[in-house]
Homo-oligomer: 526 residues x 2
Amino acid sequence: MPEPGLIGAIPSALMAQAARAYAGKVALRYGEQSWTFAEFDAAADRLASGLVRRVAPAERVIVLMANRPEYVLLQCAIERAGLVRVPVNARSTAHEIDVILADCEPAVLFYDRTTADRVPAANGEAALWRLQVDGDAARGGASYGELSAETIDRSRLERATLDDLSSINYTSGTTGRPRGVIYTHRGAYLNCFGEIIHSRHDENSVYLWTLPMFHCNGWCTPWALTAIGGTHVCLREVRGDAIWDQLREHDVTHLNAAPTVVSTILNARDTGPLTRPVLITTAGAPPSPTTIAHMERMGFQIVHVYGLTETYGPISFCQSQPEWAGLSADERSVLQARQGVSMIQAEGLRVVDAEMADVPADGSTMGEIVMHGNNVMAGYYLDPDATAEAFRGGWFHSGDLGVMHPDGYIELRDRSKDVVISGGENISTIEVEQALMSHPAVLEAAVIGVPDDKWGERPKAFVVLHAGQSATPQELIAHVRAKIASYKAPRDIEITFELPKTSTGKIQKFVLRDSEWAGRIHRVHG
Amino acid sequence: MPEPGLIGAIPSALMAQAARAYAGKVALRYGEQSWTFAEFDAAADRLASGLVRRVAPAERVIVLMANRPEYVLLQCAIERAGLVRVPVNARSTAHEIDVILADCEPAVLFYDRTTADRVPAANGEAALWRLQVDGDAARGGASYGELSAETIDRSRLERATLDDLSSINYTSGTTGRPRGVIYTHRGAYLNCFGEIIHSRHDENSVYLWTLPMFHCNGWCTPWALTAIGGTHVCLREVRGDAIWDQLREHDVTHLNAAPTVVSTILNARDTGPLTRPVLITTAGAPPSPTTIAHMERMGFQIVHVYGLTETYGPISFCQSQPEWAGLSADERSVLQARQGVSMIQAEGLRVVDAEMADVPADGSTMGEIVMHGNNVMAGYYLDPDATAEAFRGGWFHSGDLGVMHPDGYIELRDRSKDVVISGGENISTIEVEQALMSHPAVLEAAVIGVPDDKWGERPKAFVVLHAGQSATPQELIAHVRAKIASYKAPRDIEITFELPKTSTGKIQKFVLRDSEWAGRIHRVHG
């Protein structure tokens, strides 16, 4: 009889099932190289067997590298070895890596030539086995080549149970010190189903890795795509020409991309015709109507999702309704820009006030977006206080402010730290950014609060224009005033060539704020 | 923080999520009638609220009716009311219904005009509230119309937790007394994901109900299809002309069908062109190569799956491999007729010997097919002895005999009760049937063991020919001998117009056996 509480399998077991169902198919491509599902599965088993022989269960394993095929292999192998994966942002500085090492005290660190310059010399007092996956370099243990040649011992590869830690994902952090977000196998398993279903993945999927694999474990896609027999196409550098080459060479069907990657695709030099329609799932900010229209003309379909590292990636999606077809493009784009409704694996998504009561579903009362369920993290690693604070009232507090519409769709109004409070009025910087983005010359926009002696704060915008286009700040301000309440319109607009961003494409507003607030003693927001 | 052991939602909660995501879409069609997702959800809430006010939690509710829209509504409403659904075969005799009533002691029974003649007068000593869903008739409580007009009280609609009983499915029974197979909400939730993924359902799916909803809860499709925004098309009578009408009128994309329904579709009078390709998932027996070729020419795609009532419907599927494309049609059909590999939600599927050791993966050593995981029943209702027997060694024993091929695919060689043991040799009746089915004139075949004074048993075949085709028993025997070992070939073949079947299309071999063995004292098989 089923064991009570037992459910599902650890995600790497889904990969093993796939090795039977799709044995002779190509699981993974990287340049000229490819691996079938059977080859992939055996390679992961060899690595896992080698790890089991050398590392005690539940030790942490850092993965610090580009989107290489070894990343997908390790996603599987580390889990099969009963170890905890810690995917670290490949653009981290040596100092940032040290902070993570001190927090999670890993036993092993995998890296590649792109990150070799930042591999730490040692892990404080403890030993740290460091292996380069694209070379023979190794300190404190075997080389990657030796590990890859281990004999398989399947009997020792089932050390993990469903509630064990799957991975620790350090938030890339627009502000402050990174915190380790804990994923369990149970949560990852369910999220695999959600990813497959909402991305409509099947064994014909060809997925291009423009999303960094270190970001929320690549939204669970390394497991999910393999589980359903799709093909990964690894891509080390997210450049426009490289993306277009891969799209055409491998008949790509899917990619996930931050808005900045969507811009990169859009603005590449050679944007020739696609061989197949490509579904782009984008998160971070709603794509502008102009972007959507442009991409659709090129043969892309854009799906807009919302989530956080703490929710294993996407948790909501903006499903189109049949009656929207009868609306004007402008009306429709307002509805499409919303964060939408729960994905199928999501178990709870609300907008609440300070007392945890649902705000009225009126599309205007702001509240905090909260979630619960198996697709919400198990907590912050070794930080019970931060965990308790995040889960106060039994729900995870996203820190994002939004509204609930009468049709049950949520709409993000602001990351709470980015809200501008001017003369006591909350101004949603996203609303202002959307108004700016609706101008055809605008490629990207970021709005922050800047000091104002009378109002406390007022909004200021930083804008990047499309190549070859022009617009003056005055034109843009007039455009915004025609769209939204004028008190929300920025008085200053700075036209710039680039916005500061995290490696996953989130605009780092704190960098913009820091320069604007320099020298001020009191800050409204930290 | 997530509660340990908590996972997922009860499936009717998926339906509530869908009511937001697909509010204005059509959820359900029946003739000229249709319901949007929002209408469907509210109707289910009304019924559930009415049930909660009148029935104590965890009481059993019989559903005895055709594939009407109320069936889908009740699948949701009974669950939301915290009650246990008991879907009963709509062709059951009054006596068979009495046996089920005595076993599960229901408090409520829903029926329609097609089953009204078999509604019991009373439930022994206990009261039994009986309601007709397509009329005002009601005994022991409110009418269906009154129940449908109840005010909604959502606060009372969350009485069920994940490990509670979802439903009791009495096995339709090719032999013996029916047993109540217990499904939990947890298992049903996971199976929904499996159904969506393997049937490639999305919000564009239009699903025609040729599978009886009482059969394994319709393979979880009432929940699964609604959860992903697809449209149910109810069909009261499974007739060829009615199926073709619906296929064309509603642009159907999917249906699930026993082989007998596939034959019905194939042999209908008006088989004009399809408006869209239709995916048919078929179980019960592998479709013959002739059938597959014929259906594909008409625009159908056939997927062959295997499962049992005890596994919530399908648990394995026969995934095609790219290298099969290079084989001859005959070679390919042999591979395609296998039961295949685990579906994505399946957690364990093995072929074992009497000591629970895996049989060699040689494609010839027979063993019993066993399963475990959340997509296997929680047990037989109120029958701990039968449950313990079925789960001996920690795995569910299917009673089906099969082999494991070197590529990890299982192949069913016989339902164990149907095996023919002749002169000490096991003869797989399925193998003989497949050999017969490969003859172009043969529509259906059933092989049983008949008494033989020398060998104990020998195989005998009952064959139905395609309309307008002819073949003599001698020709068919010669055809079989050319295909498989001659000791397996039947010496007698009876050409007949019809085979005895259950309402779900399984051939009732016990009926054939009973007549052949009449008068014999000793029987090899019961």
